[in-house]
Subunit: 126 residues, 2 copies
């Protein structure tokens, strides 16, 4: 059983017309599946890149009834406030519940790592 | 003197039509300025949100001649391969050099923090 009683986690990235753009997200996904297997986690894209959220949900085992969507976004804007909730609303059924989690940029450790990444360029050379 | 001999770092986020979207980037910027001051670092946006990259560069002290742009992006797509380099090209002069750094999502510690943030949802409950 997964934490928070989800049957499956979908990592959702934005999508891009650039075919190379998705590589870091695929790399992150592959790292995760090395530790946790590919059964409980998928990678999908909001737009422009496949698989879409809709395709990913459609491909899941029918026994899965509680999904969490974890946005690989740094901030919540129109996409996460309007577009993705509308996609999720259209995908939910009486037997399939889909929750939208806060974006990964909200995570305290991710924020701290970004601060440190910036600080590398600002640290004084003695 | 800043590391890598930059006079100034511009943190560049995407921009959004949603006015609340920019808050996590402003929060990150404010945290950075608490430790490093606001003299050597600015926050700008590629589109839709102000200040723009152009406005930010124009506002800098004329003694600044080497700028690094650090994209607050998770991946390199059309924006960082075409749009931002074109903006930078238009802003550079004989006396002002602007380098485009890899996006913050490329940082090893940021990647690791994202893996851990995802793992929280995948860790088995014993």
């Amino acid at each position: 059983m997964l934490r928070k009683e989800y049957d499956h986690i979908i990592l959702l990235a934005h999508g891009s017309p650039d075919p190379i753009w998705k590589q870091p997200f695929e790399s992150l996904y592959n790292q995760i599946t090395l530790s946790y297997g590919a059964n409980n986690v998928s990678l999908a894209f909001m737009e422009l890149t496949i698989p879409t959220l809709e395709e990913t949900v459609a491909s899941l085992d029918k026994e899965i009834t509680r999904i969490a969507v974890l946005p690989l976004f740094l901030a919540v804007g129109r996409h996460l406030r309007q577009d993705v909730p509308a996609q999720i609303e259209a995908l939910q059924t009486d037997r399939l519940q889909i929750d939208l989690l806060p974006p990964i940029g909200d995570d305290a450790a991710v924020k701290e790592a970004m601060q440190m990444a910036i600080a590398k360029y600002l640290g004084k050379v003695e």
